[in-house]
Subunit: 206 residues, 2 copies
């Protein structure tokens, strides 16, 4: 059996898509899956645990980490800094563990830029499908509001094309979405570009 | 839920890889999966059933089928003609059924050329891995024999890169290989390029 190093899975999508529940359920089913915790300079919310939801650091600490090459990527969002610690991911992947994370869309694209081998999965909530048709049909929005929403949709569509997969998280069908994600995690392992030339030469010397 | 039309899966690889057993087991687990039967001008072998293993046709019938646009692709191999009937595949895919087939490597590449959206899966038998190392170690082959085998391996390696996936069919682990194939069938459905722009616009109008 050919085993490469682990793979990095980035689960993102609009808020309300149910990423948190989905990733939690997936981690429950795959205990060997490692979760990458982001660093941020924003204040923790009451329910957030340091080291579990985020590493909460000062601006100074964040700067030191980043300038020392400790972050895979970093970005500013709504006045706060966010970054992906490099060490944990690199060590886990080298040891053969798969790693998962769930940044917002702009974070996902920053990670893709820093780590082209990452697998980007866009999760969409089913109840938001066909919104445009519904907006147009019910005629409660002004024409400007509809135009603005469609403009946002068009902009987001461009982001989606930079992802590898779309998973639809249908209401009351969480189990199905988790199985879809699991199939992606499993199948990506066998993609031809994951096999370096020397491993193929070995397989093919038959 | 966004559903596109069905997908075409092409399972190929060197003889001895266990493609037949693997595809039979997969079809047993996925009864909705349709199997594409090739047409050929060669004589049926004793155990072969017409319409199940091949459609056995005369050269004249083959020529009529091909010239009438009835074949997705056709090729000559060892003095016989082989071709993939177009109708059954196109009708099944349009109706939303996935289709599977298991041609030899040259057939798989011909199908890719005719149908770029097909998913190509290369099956290798585990017991052939590391053959080069074993050949070199045991030193029972002549240098010319080893060189010839390595030349074939190098040529086949170039074909492998045109496939999408490699699945290793380890001895006594058929179930695992079937599950790997199933994960590929499942995950391919969610790949971003399977979503036409209008379906993404619909999903994203949120």
């Amino acid at each position: 059996m050919i085993t490469g190093p682990g793979l990095l899975f980035v689960v993102s999508g609009p808020s309300g898509a149910g990423k948190d529940t989905l990733v939690a359920a997936l981690r429950g089913r795959r205990p060997s899956l490692r979760y990458s915790v982001s660093a941020t300079t924003r204040e923790p919310r009451p329910e957030e645990q340091a080291g579990e939801h985020y590493f909460f650091v000062s601006r100074q600490e964040f700067g030191r980490l980043r300038d020392g090459g400790g972050l895979l990527e970093s970005r500013e969002y709504n006045g706060n800094l966010y970054g992906t610690p490099r060490d944990y991911i690199e060590r886990s992947l080298t040891e053969g563990y798969d790693v998962i994370m769930k940044p917002e869309v702009n974070g996902a694209l920053a990670i893709r830029a820093a780590f082209p081998d990452a697998v980007l999965i866009f999760v969409v909530p089913d109840r938001f499908s066909n919104l445009r048709e519904r907006l147009l049909a019910r005629r409660t929005e002004t024409n400007e509001e509809i135009a603005r929403r469609l403009e946002i949709a068009t902009r987001e569509m461009k982001f989606i094309r930079q992802f590898d997969y779309i998973v639809v998280n249908e209401q009351d069908r969480l189990e199905q979405a988790v199985r879809d994600l699991e199939a992606i995690l499993q199948a990506e392992r066998f993609r031809i570009h994951r096999y370096p030339d020397d491993s193929i030469r070995r397989v093919e010397s038959s």
